[in-house]
Symmetry: C2
Subunit: 374 residues, 2 copies
């Protein structure tokens, strides 16, 4: 990899690592007889999507209608919008459902009512179950409302209830791999409980979070896996223990613009608008990225890990031990492993691959629909 030509913060992705991350989860799905429906919200890239297709994958999840449209235009025709149905985008949703096999996510009887009254084309529905994460959906123990959702959806013959969908997002906040495993296991057991109680024929169970997808060697008891972050991994996943340093596929390459030897500070061009303000807590302090050395073949860590300790709009601040700034020079480049690669990729807007080519990312502004005009 020739980094020399980089002059401003650029997100560099190693395709070899991405492909191996895809293969690892795909093989575990195949072994478990589980449909792998990778979540494309992490990379949002047609190019990277094609690497999934090369592995035989044909079903995907996305988190917006714009994203569904983006991937449909690249030949994907089995797409789940794994985000609560947005009635205000019904026109766009309806148009897309006439072109591909589209599945929506319904979190409540109210949402089911709106969809059932509006739908004029064939749509599949996943019911969003909250198994304890406490974000969106209907709680696993509220069988009354879950069953109501099915009844309402079934009033419109164009709609089909496919299954139950959850996101055990609390695994991302786990303090150990054991805790992440326990949270996932509890979530799946609650999903089974719901499925068994509802007695609607053929209800599938769909789950998806990168920590558990990575930590388990197989996925018994589920029908579909929707993990997404594993494609790149990041510092959050490294911190949880879901990946090793060598599994991380994306690094933000940033110019050094100020080296302050007396104050043990290195300032980089790389701030909140490049990396996002997401952070992990390491040794009691917020950390906004891990600094890596750039090498001929990619990047490598420092012997003693070095972190971004604060970010403003364009500045990133590396605090070092005394003497730790000695190896840095203004005008040179460093790499930053992002805390949360989904958000960093979204900010980057495209990728430079380690083979010197580039890859696309859905443009943020193309999401903006106003009066039907993008």
């Amino acid at each position: 990899m020739n980094y020399d030509r980089i002059s401003t913060p650029v997100l560099v992705v190693n395709p070899g690592i991405v492909k191996s991350n895809i293969r690892r989860i795909n093989e575990k799905c195949q072994k478990s007889g589980v449909l792998f429906r990778p979540h494309f919200k992490t990379h949002q890239s047609k190019q990277i999507g094609r690497w999934f297709r090369d592995e035989g994958i044909s079903s995907i999840a996305v988190s917006s209608v714009a994203m569904a449209r983006y991937f449909a235009s690249d030949g994907w025709n089995d797409i789940t919008v794994a985000f609560p149905y947005n009635p205000r985008e019904h026109v766009e949703t309806d148009a897309l459902s006439r072109e591909i096999s589209l599945t929506l996510t319904i979190p409540s009887p109210e949402s089911a009512h709106i969809l059932a009254s509006k739908a004029e084309s064939r749509l599949s529905v996943m019911i969003k179950v909250d198994t304890g994460y406490n974000r969106s959906g209907t709680r696993w123990d509220n069988l009354n409302d879950l069953s109501k959702i099915i009844d309402i959806i079934c009033t419109n013959p164009l709609l089909t209830v496919k299954g139950l969908l959850t996101h055990a997002g609390d695994t991302y906040k786990s303090e150990s791999t054991t805790q992440a495993r326990e949270r996932y296991t509890l979530s799946v057991s609650r999903m089974k409980q719901v499925r068994d109680s509802l007695q609607h024929p053929g209800l599938m169970i769909s789950v998806g979070d990168t920590p558990s997808a990575s930590l388990f060697s197989g996925y018994p008891d589920i029908d579909e896996l929707r993990a997404g972050n594993f494609v790149f991994y990041d510092l959050m996943q490294l911190n949880i223990g879901s990946c090793s340093f060598d599994d991380i596929a994306a690094v933000m390459v940033c110019p050094v613009v100020d080296v302050r030897h007396r104050e043990n500070i290195v300032v980089i061009y790389g701030g909140a608008v490049h990396l996002s303000k997401d952070y992990v807590t390491i040794d009691g302090s917020p950390v906004y990225g891990q600094i890596v050395r750039l090498t001929k073949t990619g990047w490598s860590s420092y012997d003693s890990p070095l972190y971004l300790s604060s970010l403003s709009q364009e500045h990133g601040i590396i605090k070092t031990e005394a003497g730790g700034t000695a190896g840095f020079r203004t005008g040179e480049l460093v790499g930053v492993i992002p805390v949360h690669s989904c958000l960093t990729a979204d900010l980057a807007g495209r990728y430079l691959l380690t083979d010197g080519t580039t890859a696309d990312h859905l443009s943020g502004t193309s999401e903006w629909l106003y009066n039907g005009q993008v």
Copy 2:
């Protein structure tokens, strides 16, 4: 304002409030005989820039070379890049300096050396002084290095040292308006100390932070003011006390996608990719935005303030008091006052104005220079 046509998260800006925010600071500058050089990194918009021009403003600050290029293309020809000089963008910097009056920021003798050896066109230089914020620059009490920077810059006759530049960024972390005022006052007194000690003819003092620009009725002792955030303000500024609710000019309008009456949760389509993960702490908890009611003329606050208590990629979670979800319906819209409008505007990528027209924002990806190719 007709919000009805909004279907996905859109950043709405009230031009009347923006113009009045501009006028207020501009008048204080004029009264104090201070050059107002507004920082355009907050809005990054040619359209909004023209409202400044309408007030007679002709000098601006930006935080990247791409931003300087963007505004130069709209007729601005006195631009300071108020971010440490990035030697890797020297070619682009040099090209721009041949078209407009460009000022760079030099934080260290090392940076000065690189610029002095590379510069082949006329450039002005501001010396970045760290008056205690501990981000970039040379400390106010390191007169040796500050004086070295001047000497190095003066070795290249194309370069002119214009003055001293600082950013008292700790005012943003103030716990009271008194503390913000004290931090600013200390910063300015240190700048004066540096100027008086260096004895270089004509050194100007440039400062810029929205809390102090807003809190003081005039700006004695400085020559130039570079505040930027005041154009929109936001929840962070409201929380510090630098603005009133009515001064806030930007609101992210978001669809409601799930209302959970039993759990006292409202889920909106509006997450970290729309608002950023910046937060303020209110009553001991992190807050990612304040919820407002949309009205015919703009927006208004709830009697008892309602906040976004967590964000994931596309989801925003409003936690209410018991019964507080009663007024919300799936499919309707709410407004969110962003915590940090600079980051939210950067994510939004453009604006919808309350008069129904739109305004541009520099596209993030246009910043990416690789081998001279954007």
